[in-house]
Symmetry: C2
DNA sequence: CAATAGATGTTAGGTTTTTTAACATATATT
DNA sequence: AATATATGTTAAAAAACCTAACATCTATTG
């Protein structure tokens, strides 16, 4: 939960996001207009982007560079969403299993999870996604 | 090196830092004026704060809340600096030692380092420092 | 080929944020 | 009582951001 908050916490105004993604403000707003991203807003209507938003923009940019049009990108994002929630529900199943384990086993699994987190972190640096880069 | 860049990369305008730290802009600028933080500037002279800067501000805030005055905080920061560079040079020594190890040993140490990174991460969540929170 | 749709650039006018500098205030120290 | 410290408040200018409109370029389609 905490980790999700961090990925989705609104932090960056559009200017920072421009320099982070090398996209123009026009492009960023256009992608929002077409539902590819959903940045938060401040009380005074400024856009505020999370790490997750910036990640999505970087993915969008890559696909744009490959010649994929917005419809295609939208579709790919949607499919990715499906895959993610599938994985999540699978993960939840294994979480339920955990409920029946002994303390010792739990501690062992926790150690392993922390280790895996670190390992994944390292591995993901290669694919240039920002929030992973920053986590 | 990459990790250092991430901690020190200028990302946040002062407005975000205000909401992140619950300090007033006046306070933040005053602390800069007195050398407690050194935020970067954009080409157009706006302050841009890194995770490290925000961390420092959170530390400053804690000390302020404890009644420490700026001179005291400055001193504590300086001492902390000394401790950090001591640790760093110690770390460098152990890095030098590594140069003479076998591949197998190197791989083992790397695993251990990654694990430690994860462990430290967890532990530090309690003390409310932002960049650790986000790493 | 002409018309249309998609993606981005550019411009204009208005609002918000940030900056520095100055002055005000409250509290602690001398 | 005077001074120093820390912060608030205000003003004016510069920069960033907002929406909306119009322009341009490219690809597709009739």
């Amino acid at each position: 939960m905490g980790r999700q908050d961090r990925r989705t916490m609104p932090l960056f105004p559009i200017g920072i996001v421009q320099s982070l993604t090398d996209l123009s403000a026009r492009q960023i707003r256009y992608y929002e207009e077409h539902g590819l991203i959903h940045p938060a807003r401040t009380g005074s209507n400024r856009r505020l982007f999370s790490f997750e938003d910036v990640d999505r923009l970087l993915e969008i940019k890559e696909l744009i560079d490959k010649g994929v049009n917005l419809a295609g990108i939208k579709e790919m994002m949607a499919q990715k969403e499906v895959r993610a929630s599938t994985l999540k529900s699978e993960h939840n199943e294994s979480e339920n299993v955990k409920k029946d384990l002994s303390d010792r086993e739990l501690r062992e699994m926790l150690k392993q999870e922390i280790f895996e987190a670190g390992r994944l972190n390292k591995a993901s640096l290669r694919q240039g996604e920002l929030s992973r880069f920053f986590h």
